[in-house]
């Protein structure tokens, strides 16, 4: 990257900065509203407006959302759902990323007759509307004895996530010089050794992209969660939905917003902490045609 040469503040640069800041505000407002609302009391919400700060900053809504808000009959907040999501997301992300890496490696560096067609067919999987597969997938999982288990849910996420991870890794590995593979083969390395010793250590940027992407997708998924998870293994999105829809007349917007923030927090943290790796990974080849 070019060095950050100090540029003079010409009128055009002021305009650029102003535009960028305006965009920042536009992007931030919804979450700003969520956050201030979650710290308001019920009375505050009624008296104030969307953008007004809470009169008293209160964490009650957060505590309630976490541990005592009702989601259906149970009133234990979303904490249980939160851990379910983690139990589901972590293995699903790891498995789909690993499979994607292997597939990408083969499709980029060990092409064989039909491998391009295989890739195209797999890519199509990225675009499949998921409602289509609910029933047949349920029947299949049932036959495998995995219906309504976290394992089953993990499998579903892997099946429909692997197309994307494969795409990412393949595009990345296409950019790795073939000579490197040739050199390793002459050095006596085989299929597995080349992958583990040469390519994987280089793949950190794309692994980051994959993990971030997959984690977001899987964590935020609602459809599979509601359909393929049973009562006590439902993920946070389902918990959030139940919480928002469980109300006694007054909508407790502050609790809803706090719960929404809790649901969004892990992915937000990932983006804020690892966003730069995401961009860096994209730069290093994930988006090339």
């Amino acid at each position: 990257m070019a060095s950050h040469a100090e540029k003079k503040l010409t009128p055009s640069r002021i305009l650029i900065y102003a535009t960028l800041l305006l965009a920042c505000v536009a992007y931030l407002i919804p979450v700003f509203i969520m956050i201030i609302t979650s710290f308001k009391t019920t009375g505050d919400i009624r008296s104030g407006n969307l953008m007004s700060f809470p009169e008293v900053w209160s964490v009650d809504a957060w505590i309630k959302a976490w541990s005592s808000a009702c989601t259906g009959v149970q009133c234990n907040g979303v904490s249980g759902f939160f851990w379910n999501s983690i139990k589901m997301a972590v293995p699903a992300v790891l498995i789909s990323t690993a499979l994607g890496a292997i597939n990408g490696y083969v499709l980029a560096k060990w092409r064989f007759r039909g491998s391009d067609i295989f890739f195209s067919l797999l890519l199509f999987g990225c675009f499949l509307p998921f409602q289509v597969i609910l029933l047949p997938m349920a029947a299949t999982l049932g036959k495998m004895g995995l219906a309504n288990t976290t394992t089953g849910l993990v499998i579903v996420h892997v099946v429909y996530g692997v197309a994307f991870t494969t795409l990412f890794f393949r595009n990345f590995y296409v950019g790795v010089p073939d000579a490197l593979i040739k050199a390793a083969r002459l050095d006596g390395a085989g299929f597995v050794t080349i992958f583990v010793r040469i390519l994987l250590p280089m793949s950190v940027p794309i692994i980051m992209v994959c993990i971030i992407w997959q984690f977001t997708q899987i964590w935020n998924d609602f459809l599979f969660g509601v359909v393929f998870a049973s009562g006590d293994s439902q993920p946070i999105t389902v918990g959030l939905n139940n919480l928002v829809n469980t109300s006694t007349g007054v909508k407790e917007y502050n609790v809803d917003m706090a719960a929404a923030m809790i649901a969004a927090l892990p992915t937000l943290v990932v983006y804020v902490l690892a966003g730069k790796y995401f961009i860096r990974g994209l730069t290093s080849g994930a988006v090339k045609g």
Partner: protein, 371 residues
Amino acid sequence: MAQLQLKGIRKTYGNAVQETLKGIDINIESGEFLILVGPSGCGKSTLMNSIAGLETVTEGSILIDGRDVTHAEPKDRDIAMVFQSYALYPTMTVRENIAFGLKIRRMPKEEIDAEVARVAKLLQIEPLLDRKPSQLSGGQQQRVAMGRALARRPKLYLFDEPLSNLDAKLRVEMRTEIKRLHQRLGTTIVYVTHDQIEAMTLADRIAVIKDGELLQLGSPKEIYERPSCRYVASFIGSPAMSFIPLKVERDGGNLRASLRSADDDQMYVPLPEKLAAYEGKEIHLGIRPEHITQPLAHKAGQEATSSGKFRIEVTEPTGPDVMALIRINDTEVHCRLDPDHTVDPGEPAELMIDLSRAIYFEAGKEARIDV
């Protein structure tokens, strides 16, 4: 060191119509430095990859020291290769890069250390051992790539345009270094390049390949002086050989041809008797720049030399010589002049043509006429 035999190598990709290699036969002696030259896309890289086992051949066989390795895995062929892009493993240090192949072959650690040390000393890269490839200059990377190849002491070395990514000065240095290594270690080397100077300076023998066919295999001198065809003749040598169309005539007992300058001055040159069959026909005369010079005292009066006046169109001083462009029989012809002997562009000059090294081609045909 090893001997390499290529027998009738043919290669067709997938469902391609055109063959990439059309039956290549080469024997490479132990300790020999063979250079494959040819234009890009001629199949020389495919041939190289086939020798390495990185690609399978469609037909033919490859023997190393008499052992058929046509279907052996690359790692079982005991070959090392240096790539144009160096192909250093970016996440490993120089030391690890050199040691990688040895580790894979489960060499004991002490031996690996000793081998790395030996190679590092040989190539003078000891201070670099703990750096990553990205921290090295192009020339240093090139050395490391060679070091990696040398570390395993393989039977055969393959160099795939190893100097193309270096700047001109470094290229000359490294060229010398490779030559020195070869002389010192006596290794068998197959070396691909499209740089004909590298080919001339390094090779024991040169194989010129075009369109998947081996056009000529021979020592640099043979290739230069006795090119088998018009393509080889024009490919080797810089500036390239000039081809002058001329008509074979008989004047009394001798065969001759007329050369016409741009100013319509005419002169006659004698032709060898073996061209008798072409009397009255047009043939092409191939002549290298160094055989058209200012009149040289020691050559004057020799049978094959003749002199005439030609107008100099362009001059290009190179330091040791001045390259000049003249026009003979409406064809541009390069000649090499003495820089001390000033000529001015646009002015006529007296030039001597030495036909003793000239070669002849039938008009419109590739093959050389044997004279």
